[in-house]
Structure formats: structure tokens, C-alpha cells
Amino acid sequence: MKAYLILEDGTTYVGTAIGECKEVISEIVFQTAMTGYQEVLSDPSYAGQAIVMTYPLIGNYGVSHIDMESRKPWADAFLVRELAREPSSWRRDNTLENFLKEYHIPGIAGLDTRSLTKHLRRNGTMNGCITTKHYEGFEKKDLLERIRAYRVCDVVQRVSVKEPVFYPSGSRNGKKVALIDLGTKRNIIYSLEKRGCTVCIYPADSAANEILAARPDGIMLSNGPGDPAENTGIIREIRKLYESDIPIFAICLGHQLMALATGAKTFKLTYGHRGGNHPVKDLSTGKVYISAQNHGYAVDANTLDPAVAVESFRNVNDGTNEGLHYLGKRIRTVQFHPEARPGPTDTDYLFDEFMEMMEGRHA
């Protein structure tokens, strides 16, 4: 069946419907990773967005429960050039096509994804509708209005746990980490568990008092979806966490919220950073790491209060902020994803640094 992607500027791309047959309006973003489509789909940060894969051959190795980064895929829709008809891997439990159907995610295959990517790069991230219906005339005009009106909102609430969840550690003297679930990927939890931590996952809207009362050794703010500035309530609570002297490590949305909580501003990038090849420079050592990224917003480094935080990482390509050190605090935050999945694991050492902070060995 024919399927259409209609962008808010009226540009239309045609392909073949895959997955669930339903119409959705969403924000269209592109991902340049060549592997890891399942991790991408199940990353809660994509809630409210439809994903275009720039790599043309998708689904080659099927899907596997091993690759789930959360309990379900969150993307609104999945747009590819070619969907593998015969996936091959010893790890596969299912085909990607069936997986999409199972979770009621619509998609389009056979798209000119490169042309679409260039369109988004030039004109910025925009909304679009994925549909099998052919819109014309008045109906199309109406649809375009609905597309333009779409906003990614309240997504953090959607993806976060509703009740605290404990992941007890095997080791008796492991560190106790409070993980604020803004849409966490499983590998953040695993990265802590692997280091012997007991992890308590808190809903995004948990009160700071409640978290502090549990006397964690460290607090972790996870990645997550949407416009950071929208989360005013959470930001207020994070400010309280900042005031405490508990070591904090934050990733992606967590990094942005901490910046907002301490007076800095965020802004929307033209087309975001989504991929596994972004070079980030550690400004204290000059060393460059290749990082996994997935963000549409960034912290505006010009708005930092120099008495509060200094830039610790910067993107080599476009110079945007990739990490902050909070002065006089044991707080480190990064924009990129040290937990990878998908993507390079080069910055996995940051979890070790968090461990050292909790052990009091790191300033």
C-alpha cells in the first residue's frame, strides 16, 4: 500500500506502508547511525517524534529482546529507504516489520531518505504526517494546519515510570544511586549496576525531598524527550537537588534541566544531533571522543553564569555545548550519551568518574 509523508511545508514523499496502518502527526527527525535501529526505536527520548534513518538498509539483523532500551518502542513512526525482507542473525527473535506491527507503529519504506534528510537539514526539523490517505485540496489544507499545530509536549510524563522501581545490586557495599527517570535508557541502569550500584528509579515528577530523604550516594538524571524548558516543575525540584551536596551525573535532558535549574538557557537546534559519530572535545585535556547523540535542544553556553558552571565538553563540528562542570559542586553533566546503545562506548569512562565522585575521590 502507498504511504505518504506530508511535511508541514507541504512537501510530500511517497513510499510503501510498513508496520501498523494508521495515520500519525509527529515531529520528523533524522538519525545517521548505521546500526542500532532497535535501540533507537526503543529510546524514550524519541517520544513524540518520527524517525528517518539515513542508512538505507534497515532491519537486516531483525530485532532481539537484547536490544530493547526500554519496555517498548516510543517513536511515533519509522521512515526508511529499504526494510529487510529476510533478516539474518542468531540474535533475532522477530523481524522489524512484525515488531512495528506488534507495537502499532506505522512506517514508510521506499522513501528517498537522503532527499528528506537534506530537506530537514536545510529547513530545520519540522512536523509531518504519516498516512496512507491521499490528501487533496481543502482536506490537505486542513491537514497542513493540523500538522503545523502539532507540538511535542508532556512527553516526559508519558515515558517516565509511575512508581519508584528498585534494582538491588548484587554487591553489599555498592553505591546507592537515585536515577530520576526522564525517559531513561536501560543501558544507563546497566552501566550503574555493572559498577555494583543499587539503583532506585524515581518518576520524573518526584519531589526532591523524597529523593534526598532516601539518602542516595549519588543522583543520576537521565536522558529524555521533548523541549527541556517545558518541564518547569521538574526543573524546580532539580534546583533543590543542586542545592544538596550529593554527587550528580546527568545525561542529555538531565544535563539540560540542570542547566535550566541553575539559570542558563536552552535553544532548539536547527536539525539536532542524532547519530553515533559526533566528536566531542574534553576542554580540560583537549582529547576528542566520538559520542552517541540524540538531542534537538542544546544549552546555550553564552547564558552560563561563570560562577556556577563551566563548559567541560564541546562539539567539534558546530561548537555547541556538550557538557558542564558545576563549580564547587560534585555535579557533572553531559549532552551526549556515554551509555551508547546504539553507538560508540568511548565515553563509558564517565560512569567511572561518577563512581569516583560518589566515593569522594573526585572533586
Binding site: 533524522f30 545517521t32 547511525a33 548505521m34 546500526t35 542500532g36 535501540e39 539515513t54 542508512y55 538505507p56 538498509l57 537486516n60 539483523y61 532481539s64 537484547i66 536490544d67 529507504r81 529499504e82 529487510a84 525482507r85 529476510e86 533478516p87 539474518s88 542473525s89 542468531w90 540474535r91 521506499g110 528517498d112 531518505t113 537522503r114 532527499s115 534528510t117 537534506k118 537539514r121 547519530g275 553515533g276 559519530n277 559526533h278 566528536p279 572535545k281 583537549g286 582529547k287 576528542v288 566520538i290 567539534v316 563540528n317 551508547a340 546503545r341 546504539p342 553507538g343 560508540p344 562506548t345 568511548d346
Partner: protein, 1072 residues
Amino acid sequence: MRDPRIKKVLVIGSGPIVIGQAAEFDYAGTQACEALKEDDIEVVLVNSNPATIMTDVSIADHVYIEPLTTGMLTRIIEKERPDSLLPTLGGQAGLNLAMALEEKGILNEYQVRLIGTTADTIRRAEDRLMFKETMEQMGEPIAASEVVHSLEDGLRAAAEIGYPVVLRPAYTLGGSGGGIAYTKDQCREILENGLRLSRVHEVLVEKCIAGWKEIEYEVIRDGTGNVITVCNMENIDPVGVHTGDSIVVAPSQTLSDQEYQMLRTSSLHIISELQITGGCNVQFALHPDRLEYCVIEVNPRVSRSSALASKATGYPIARVAAKIALGYRLDEIRNEVTKETYACFEPMLDYCVVKMPRLPFDKFISAEHSLGTQMKATGEVMAISGSFEGGLMKAIRSLEQHVDSLLSYDYSHLSDDELSDLLDQVDDRRIWIIAEALRRKYSVAGIHKKTQIDKWFLDKIKVLVEMESVLKRRPMTNDVLRRAKRLEFPDAVIARLSGYPEEEIHRMCKQAGITAAFQMVDTCAAEFDARTPYYYSAFGVENEAMPSGSGKKKILILGSGPIRIGQGVEFDYCCVHSTWAFRREGWETIMINNNPETVSTDFDTADRLYFEPLTAEDVRKVVEIEHPDGAVVQFGGQTAIGLTEALKRFGVPILGTAPDDVDAAEDRKRFDEILERTGIPRPAGHTVFTAEEAKQAAKALGYPVLVRPSYVLGGQGMHIAVDEEDIEEYIGEINRYQQDHPILVDKYIRGTEVEIDAICDGDQVLIPGIMEHVERTGIHSGDSISVYPAMSISEAAKQKILKDAEMLAMALHVKGMINIQFIVDGDEVSIIEVNPRSSRTVPYISKVTGIPVVDLATKVICGHSLASMGYQPGLQPVSGYFAVKMPVFSFEKIQGADIALGPEMKSTGECLGVAKEMNEAMGKAFAGAGISLPKSRKMVITVRDRSQEEMVPVAKKFATLGYQIYATAGTCSTFRKHGVLCEEIRKAEAASPNILDLVLEHDLDLIIDIPETGIHASHDGFRIRRLAVETGVYVISAVDTARALSDALSYPVGFQEPVDTGIIQNRSQRSI
């Protein structure tokens, strides 16, 4: 930051093209030298291969075309006093040489620093034992192995490691004596043989990981420890087939992110722990059914794979590695493709790249076609597409071996059992056999079980096979056409399957709007705006190849495709120089080529690069987008010439010599008319179409005759026939391929062969020099030792050559290049071949005479006269140096190939010796070809009856040089009659001890074996020659070659002086 101490850098090239070391090092070396020169580094370049671009004065400041030996390198270092040596650009040959210089203390003595990777790192990666220890220390898994010296040890090791095991004898070539043992009995058998064949009686017993996925990563690290991956690649053929012979795809297709990152992390771990500064290739075996891997190999240098990765991603690895060696950090080096980003990032692809090997079995008909751990391919092609199927189809038709689809080899006549057996074999036809099996509805799972090829790839082949049957259905619909074109089915194949004429298919596509678009290779999957016009074609996507709008006239330059015997790197040299010359003339240059190893496909060689197959249909796509003002075909060898007709049809003017005149030179009848008119003699001959006609012609001419197809290169299918039986056999062989052109039967004349390349501007003819072949007629010119200037021919003959060349060039209205081969017998000169195009000898003659032949020819094509460029017509004065071009062979790598030379070309490459004295130049040329004698001063001579007398003086010379000569009965008695001291040795078929035992004592310098010609050649000789080659003994099969060697050996190696050919090359640069 750049290290300010580095001012003068020595770069070592990889030497002659051999199997396993092809044009990729010219590409890497050239790119690196350019990067060095950007930083005002004085570059001293050493490479024995004159056909390379890196040995041009425009690339390096000092160019030594000298043998790659420690002795010669020491003398060059002594003379040039470089402060640094960059060892990682010249492949394994260059790296080994750099290490030898370091280990001998020469670098220390002259205070030369190794820049880039250190000697210690190289040792840890290269030395088998140290590598094993290093990997174990790092915790990186490797396949268990043990070196053994006895049968007992070997069996014990095999039992400990666990069967199956791979056995690899040390110091045997071509993988001979090795194999996989599944049982103790097999192990015993292989070990016994392997220990005997090994010069040091050493065999490596290794855990067999055949069948695992073979994955490669290209990684780069700078001096401060920043590391990135450029690309990963997946071999379709699992472990067991050399990666150079595998079909390879980039990026990996069947790896999950977990597997991808596991191997990526491991490669970064390895490059960091080894502290490599520059590029590195890591090869892995990945278990197909669980999360387990082992490291197969680490190459701490640029390689064939890095060249492929560079072309596949647009990331210039050699350039970046050179900058890193100078001290730059990755984040200080700009990405020249995007100009927006830096070298410190990882390329993201949004297309699929397929590489296929170009195997030489069309030249070595008797050779085994099996593929294993010894590489056999002479070159490779790369194709880029939006899908794997498209990439595979494009790669197949790029191979230049008469194939255009999975139907090109017909196995439909086989029984199911036969087909099933073939599936168990690993050879060059494997994918065609798989396609046939899929046509017969064999299951993907069943084929996977037999071949171990991942099911994903097999299913993709199935997609192509399914399309074949869809195309057979009538009537053709636009939808089917659209799908077929997206899978890159060529019009011709669609036409064959559907029954419509090819032009009709083209018309239908056009009408339905199914036209090719071009997409950019931009390193970043469109995330950033890229500036480099490097394109590949695809269907069903948006076209990105917009006209440059430069307002310049546009020239289309056709490349020469994959490196194969008969069409080597020389033609890339010509294409690249022509491109540069056109650019200097103010043209916009457009290159089409499909060879990832070459300079011509570097992203900044031409203004616009189309990485495409060189077929009429593919070229047409580019023509329809670019509308070039003209095309040149005279520099790209036979591949380009073959496209002349098509270009004319597409309305592209052919610049330079008119196609009709090219045809006049190739068409026997028309050419004979020209010869008659000009009064130039040639050996009598006839044009025929059938074996019967050929026999009649031969009878009329008198045997022996030379039989060959017209329109060929490298003497493909050329034979000397001594009787009717020979003719029958040869015509049969020639007709295996579709024969559009007639067959030529010529009288075979013995004499001295000479060759010239000339430039004609329409009025005047310039001949840089005359090259004389050492071997008499009967051996292909590409396999002959060629000497400049001609030594033995008379002044009268030279004048005739000049006159004939002038007349011919005029008669053929040549504009640009012409190559003519003559036979000289006393003062008599006759013509054997005329090619109105660039030839194999152009780079060589350019470098030894200092006349920039391709530049001049290109300028002539653009309308300049020779006089206006400051050149006098006629034969140019000699340069004051002797230059010897020596053919280099790769026989040891092709099991079953006969090494005896004849009219069919067999050499894979060449090297040059340049000196003030003839024997010195000859000695350098032999040394450059890897023949460093004398060693044991023992040799075997076995000569056919009619050549024995002629051999006597040569044998005497060897005796004078202190050689102990063994000779077979007939030869021995002739020698003794003439007072040559020699010992008789029994032939191979006789009882032991015989000649084979002598070879296996591993104490021989060389074997001179002059065999009978024609089909009477003995199989005994063949066996000896093979054994000799596989155990590393030098074999000579022509009397003239033997004489040249004896002359060369009379000049002591220690007196060889390095010559900076930069001085010769600069000498004649005039107003261009």
C-alpha cells in the same frame, strides 16, 4: 601541532605491482606526499615502480626509481640525509624495508627518525610471536596457534588446539603445502609435506576459524591519543578466503549494534594500546552464532583495505595519516570533503559499497580457480549503490571480464548433483553458482549450510534471481522496469531476458521517467553540506549532480577499470596526467572510473568524479547529466577505447585522434591499405574468422604463425602456432568469449623487437626515445625486459623507425599519442603493431627521458603544436642514462599457472633500473624485481635442443661468476662439448635423486629452463617450474633473459649508485 623538527622526509613506495600489492599504494603514497608538501616538507621518494604517479617530480622533490633494498636505501639516505622516514605508506614491502633499516642501525647512524608509528609498535603488530603476546596482554582474543618443527610436535599441538586446524608452512609461497586438517591422518599428511616444503622446516598450526564472519575496521589515532574509526567492512566470503579475494561490503550489513560496537571498541583498544600514530587495519573473525570474536591480524599501516575504506567513505586516510605523522591532531585536520567538519569524526554512509576482486584466471587458464588464504586477485572494482543488490550488479559489470549479470556464467547444463558439489567449492565463480542454485529453488538455508555465507546476502542474490524470472514475463510494465533498474539490471540484460530490443528498453525507461540520478559521497549521510563532487548513480532518488556552472568547457576522461594483467597502473598514470593537463588548460575535468585503488578516483584528482562501471549504458548516464564538450579515450587503455563507438552514438565528440582513424589502425584491411600506400613493410598476414580459414592462412604463410584476436590488450589470446593442431586448440580458446572482431594470423618473424611512443600534433611527430626488448619476438612486449636507449640496432634502422613512425602518424591523422612496435632484423624494419593511443611504456619513457609525454599529448589534443611548446620534432637526443624496465610476475601466488613466457602477457607489474652504465642499470632492474643474486651460486640449466648451442656462452659467463651448474642430460653434454664445467642432474620423471630433490634442498639460486613451445611443451618442465617458484627459486625461461642476468651480475651490487630521476624529469620541462 606540526612538529617543526621535520623538514625532509623519506617516503618508501611499495615497488612493482604484484598480487597483494597493487595500485593502492600509489594512491596512498601520492596522497600522503601531497599532504607533506602542503606543509613545505622536502620529500625524498624511493620506489622501483616507474608506472606510478608518486614517482613524478610534481609529487616528490627527489625521486629515486631504485631497487627497494637496504643497500640502496642506505646509499640514498647517505646522499639525501633526510631527518625523518615515513614507513607506513609503502605497503608490507615498504614497511619491511624501513624495519630492516632500523634493525641494521642505519637510521640511527644517519639520525633518521621514524615518524608516525614507531619501530617497536610495528614489531608488536607484525611479529607473529610478539603479536600473540601483545594481544594476550591486552586481553584481546586470538585464534590459538603454535609453531612446530617436527611431525610429533605438530600432531601434539593439533590435538591440544583441537581439530580442525589450519597448517601453514613458513616461507612457502602461494600457500603451497598448507591446508586444513579435520583429522589426525589429514594432519599427518599435510604436516609431512609442509615441513619438507618449508625452507626452515617450520609449520604454524592454528585453530581453524573458517566459516566465521570476517570483519575489518579501519581506525586512525593521532599522537595525542585521539582515536576514530573510519569504516568497517564485512566480507561476504567468511574466514578462509583472503580478504583481497572476497566480495566485501561496507559498512557491515549483518552486524547488530552490539556486535558492531564490540569490534569497534576492540579495534580502538588495540590501536591505543599499540600506540599507533596513523592508520591501522584490524581484521576480526566474528562467530556467526554467538557473541565471540578473535583478532586475526593488525596492519599498522595504510593498506588495500584502507584505500577501499577511503573511497567508500570519502575520508582520505593516507592524507590524514601523513598529517598525523607531522604532529597534527585529528581535530586540527580539516575534512576536505565537507570543508565544514574536521578529520576527527566518523564517516556515516547512506549507501552500500560492494567491492569485488578482479582475478587473473582469464590469463592463467591452467591455474586452479580455488580461493583460499593466499590472495590471487590482481585488482578490484568498487561499486556504490543505494542497495546491496545494486552494488553487486554494478560491481559485476565493472569487472571487465565479459560479465554483466548473474547469468553471465551458464551452469544450467549441470545436474543437481554436480551443482551441489560446486557449491562446496570456493572459487571465483561462487556467486554465479549460488545464483543458479537459487534459480533451481535450492533453499537459502541449504546454501548457507554449504557456503557459510550469511543468509542475508544469499537472500539478496535471490532477489536478483527472482527479478530475472519476473523480467521474462510479458508484457513489460513500467513497474517491473522500475524495480529492475533499481536493482541495477543493465538494459542489455533486461533486453535479453524480456526479448525486447535494448534500445526499446532504454526508450521505455525514458518514457516512464526511469532515469538514473546521481548522489553524493559526502562522508556524513547528508548531515552537513558537502562541497566535493564525488558521485554515484542510483534510481528512484533525487539527482544531486548539478552542473558546476563554472562556464568552462567540460572534458570527460574515461578511466581504465580494475588492475589486471595487461592493463596495469600505467593507464591510471596516463588518465591522471591527462586530467591535470586539461585542468591547466582551463577545462572542467570529469572522471569516470571504478577502481578504488587508484589516484584517478581520489576525490580531488578530477573536478568531478563519477564512481561508475565503464559500460556504454553507465557512461551514457553521466553524459546525459554532464553534456561534456568532449571525451578523451586514448589514455584509458582498452577499456576506454572500447567505449569510443558508444560515445559517438551519444553525441560526445572524441578529442584527439578521430575514432575512424583508430579503427583504421585496428582494421586489418584498412591498415594494410595504409601500409601499402606508405610503403611500410609488415609481416605477411591474413584476417580470418574460422579455424579452417586460419589453417589455410597459416599454410600459405608457412609455420610458425602468430594467432591473435584483433582489439585486444596484453596479448590476450595470442599464441604462436607451429602446426594445425595448435591452431585448432587456440581458435577454440579464443572463441570461448563472444568474438565481435576477426582473428589475425601473421607470419612469425624472429628479430629484435623495439617499441616507441610518439606524440603527433597533426604536422609533426616527437619520439622521446626508442626502447629495445631484450627477449626476441615471441614473448609479449609487456613481459620483455625493455631497454632505453636502444642498444643493438643500427643507425639506418633507427632512421627507418623514425620515418615509418612519422608516416604512420600522419597517415592515421594522429592527434596525441601513438605506440608502435617494430621488428628489426639488421637494417630491415617491419611493423608488428600500431596502437593510436597511450601505452604501458608511457610513464617509463616519460621518466627516463624527462619528456612529459601525457602532458604534451593532452596539450596537442587541446590544439597546441609541439613547436609552440618548445619541442623539436623527431627522435629526441638520448638522456645520458640507461634505463631497464623489468617485468615482475606473481606466479608463486597462482597455483597451477605456467610461468613459461610467450605471446600472452603474464607479468603483473614492472620495475626500473636507471644508471650511467648498462650493466648497472640491468643489475638494478633485476634487484628491483626481487632477484638479489648471487647467494649460493648454484644453478640448474635445462634447455630445449635447438637452443643449447646458444646457451653455451651464457653458461660460461655464469661459470666465470663462480656458479656451480647442474644440467639435464642433453644440455649437459652440449655444455661439456664446449668446455663448460657442469654436473648432470636427472629430469623430474627419473628416479631420485633428480632435479626435484635438488630444488627441495633449498640451496639453488636459479633455474634456467628453456621449454619447447606450442602444445608440445612437456609437463615435466611445468612441474619443475612450479615447484621452483613455490619454494622461492628464480626461474628464467628465455635465453636472452639469462644472458641479461649474467651481464648484470658482472656489475658488483656494491657499486650501484642511486640516481635522482627528478633531475632527469626536470631536465626537459619546457614552457608547459
